[in-house]
């Protein structure tokens, strides 16, 4: 019985279905329970949160990642899958809290840097990080360096993820790194950057700790940085 529910969670993550009203990638799903309902059902049946998370939600996302790598899935498929995982996490949250869970793999502050109004890439990485089990605080677009660092301090964050689409604004990423250095926080809070004009070289040049060429790379780097830092 339990296995059956977990299998259906994986299937519905792959279909990107948050709840019963979602269509899914293939047809004939409307009305069927989605990830939120299935997670609730699993909890009601006494399946522990760890199993739901690892065998259900995370396994679903892993399969999504594989389908993306082979070219079967496109970015929007991935996005809806991550949103479905997020819907499942929302249902699980009270249970995780009562179990004294840490609230995920770590806390990430996400922002598009000052003077840049582009948010698609940043939103995508935010959703994917959430789907991967990170706790994400999204500060939006056009955020000054000082505010980003303040938020990282207040939220006791492990990571800052910065996005820029314009070659004229990508230079503002460096201000965030400088601000962290100035406050002596850079050892504790690592910086990952991304966006069309950025690169590994640029990340190195401005003293950022990583560059994510896509959302999956961002997740990998975030996991590595947090493991290396040993903060959680």
């Amino acid at each position: 019985m339990g296995d059956k529910i977990i299998e259906r969670i994986v299937e519905n993550v792959l279909q990107g279905r948050r709840n019963k009203d979602d269509e899914g990638i293939e047809e004939d799903y409307i009305g069927e329970p989605g990830v939120a309902e299935l997670v609730q059902e699993a909890l009601d049946n006494g399946i522990d949160t760890n199993t739901i998370l690892l065998e259900g939600l995370s396994k679903g996302m892993e399969q999504v990642g594989e389908k993306y790598e082979t070219g079967e899935y496109f970015i929007p498929d991935m996005l809806t899958a991550a949103e479905a995982v997020e819907a499942g996490m929302t249902v699980m949250e009270p249970h995780l809290a009562s179990e004294g869970g840490s609230g995920g793999k770590g806390k990430v502050i996400m922002a598009t840097v000052e003077k840049d109004l582009h948010d698609i890439g940043k939103n995508l990485v935010s959703i994917m990080l959430k789907g991967a089990g990170f706790n994400v605080v999204d500060m939006g677009i056009d955020v000054p360096a000082a505010r980003i660092v303040e938020a990282a301090e207040e939220e006791n964050a492990d990571l800052i993820g910065l996005s820029a689409l314009l070659n004229t604004t990508m230079t503002n990423m460096e201000d965030v790194v400088k601000e962290l250095d100035k406050k002596g926080l850079h050892d504790k809070v690592k910086v990952i950057i991304g966006g069309a004009p950025t690169s590994d070289d640029f990340a190195a040049e401005i003293g950022a700790d990583g560059y994510g060429k896509d959302a999956f790379a961002a997740i990998r780097i975030a996991e590595n940085l947090i493991q290396a830092g040993g903060t959680k």
Partner: protein
């Protein structure tokens, strides 16, 4: 000097060298949309402008729309316009205008079905003549402008590069001034600050001999941007209004990406693109009726697997052709974007993407076709060699527009009769008369017999293009701005840098 008139194109060639004065070309033969489809796109765009509205977070823009009868939601900075206001603004905008050069034969007319190709983009990197990819610098802006001045089929210059060695506060005037110094062709460029815009106009006024003279014969124009979907930021709205007030040529560029910042369907992207282009036209015309403004479009697709913007996709070419028809429908001069490739090198992909999208825009009759030279990697890198290759590609597109001349002499009955069965035409006068104009001669292509190609070093077109670029950049050129004017400009703007000719010529030997 002899002159021949062919199908309305005036060919003037000196002696037997075949060098020609600037020709004008018209397109419009290719229609991707039917008249009914044009009207369906128009009606849907009007519905968007009336019911969804658009956002401008800039009170003076909201006020001017409100004063002209638009419904304005000040709290949400949202503007809803009626079809009447759209059509009033469209009618007020000029159907065509002359964009002036500062050398003889460099004026271009933009509008109708006249086709002009030029540069554009804002690359971060340069692929130089030693095949190094490196951050762009101000000397590259100067060299690329000089190369642009030299290329036959390139009709206007938009600085294609963000120079990393220039402080952002002075990027506007430094890039603009290096453009003005190095090419006599009409110049456009983006805007980085209000001050930069004002200073650029001041510099151009000094060169023109006063602001009024500049306004009468504008040789610089500006590019502002609209954010897809359906939004103009406060600073861009201010730029649009300011350039319109000056009455200088203006593009209100908007780049809806199908699937990301516009609907995934090409039709849906065209609807939104059309609405956004009309927003730019309206704002400019409400500020200054009759001010020259381009119906501006950068319709692109998105690779839904990688989220890369695709500048060189064939669908982008199709949408540019469709948007040209929309501009013709409104009788507005249009600003298009083709010829940029997503390839990282001047390779086969670069050539076919540049050529197919360029040809579609030319056949459609696009007026001011920008980014058509040198742009690689989705416009993140500019290549000197690709400038040369694209000159060949644009040359082929324009040759296509010239079509096939049919008249008594070209049908050649007399000469067929004279040569008769089994003869040949090689030494006939008729052959000599037409052989330099009938066929287009690309410069970087190889057309030699195999052995000669082998003996000449078995070069590919990339290599030949590099050699040509190097050769063109070494040619002596007369100063386009007289020294006394240059001194006056530099006195007023001491932050202007000096670029020594040859600063960027990395292919020179160290001793040279």
């Amino acid at each position: 000097m002899t002159g021949t008139s062919i199908k309305g194109f005036i060919l003037i060639y000196a002696g037997g060298t075949g060098t020609m004065e600037k020709l004008t070309y018209e397109g419009g033969g290719y229609n991707v949309l039917t008249e009914k489809e044009i009207s369906q796109i128009h009606e849907t765009s009007i519905k968007v402008l009336e019911n969804v509205g658009f956002e401008i977070n800039y009170p003076p823009a909201l006020e001017i729309f409100e004063k002209n009868g638009a419904t304005v939601d000040h709290q949400r900075h949202r503007i809803y316009v009626t079809r009447d206001l759209v059509s009033r603004c469209v009618k007020q905008a000029p159907a065509e205008f002359v964009f002036y050069g500062r050398k003889e034969g460099n004026d271009i007319t933009i509008g109708g079905k006249k086709v002009n190709f030029g540069t554009g983009g804002l690359a971060l990197y340069v692929l130089d003549l030693e095949r190094n990819k490196r951050p762009g610098e101000i000397h590259d802006v100067a060299e690329l402008a000089r190369l642009a001045d030299r290329l036959e089929y390139l009709n206007f210059f938009i600085n294609p590069l963000y120079p990393h060695d220039i402080n952002i506060e002075t990027v506007d005037i430094n890039t603009r001034y290096q453009s003005l110094l190095n090419t006599g062709k009409p110049i456009m460029g983006g805007i980085f600050s209000k001050q930069g815009l004002e200073d650029s106009i001041k510099i151009a006024s000094i060169i023109a001999g006063g602001l009024e003279k500049l306004q009468r014969r504008p040789f610089i124009g500006f590019i502002s941007s609209i954010t897809s979907p359906l939004k103009i930021s406060a600073e861009q709205a201010e730029y649009i209004m300011e350039v319109a007030r000056y009455g200088l040529p203006l593009a209100t560029s908007t780049a809806p990406a199908a699937g990301a910042t516009a609907p995934i369907t090409l039709a849906g992207t065209l609807v939104q693109q059309n609405a956004e282009a009309l927003m730019g036209i309206m704002l400019s015309q409400l500020v200054n009726p009759g001010a020259p403004v381009l119906y501006s479009a950068v319709p692109i697709t998105m690779d839904m697997r990688t989220m890369s913007f695709l500048m060189g996709s064939i669908e982008s070419g199709l949408m540019n052709a469709a948007i040209t028809q929309m501009a013709h429908y409104y009788r507005l001069p249009c600003y298009l974007t083709v010829g940029t490739t997503d390839s990282k090198l001047p390779d086969a992909q670069a050539a076919h993407e540049s050529a197919t999208t360029g040809m579609l825009a030319a056949l459609a009759g696009g007026n001011f076709i920008h980014e058509a030279f040198g742009m690689l990697d989705g416009a993140l890198t500019v290549s000197y060699a690709q400038y040369i290759i694209d000159n060949d590609i644009v040359g082929s597109c324009l040759r296509t527009l010239r079509g096939i001349e049919i008249n008594q002499d070209s049908l050649a009955y007399d000469i067929i009769a004279k040569v008769g069965p089994g003869g040949n035409y090689l030494s006939e006068e008729h052959t000599i008369k037409y052989m330099r104009t009938e066929s287009f001669a690309p410069q970087a292509s190889d057309r030699q017999p195999y052995q000669r190609w082998l003996d000449a070093g078995s070069k590919d077109s990339w290599k030949r293009a590099e050699e040509l670029a190097a050769q063109f950049l070494q040619e002596p050129s007369d100063p386009i701005i007289p020294p006394e004017i240059d001194a006056r400009v530099r006195e007023e703007f001491p932050e202007l840098v000096t670029v020594e000719k040859g600063d960027g010529l990395h292919w020179e030997t160290e001793s040279g």
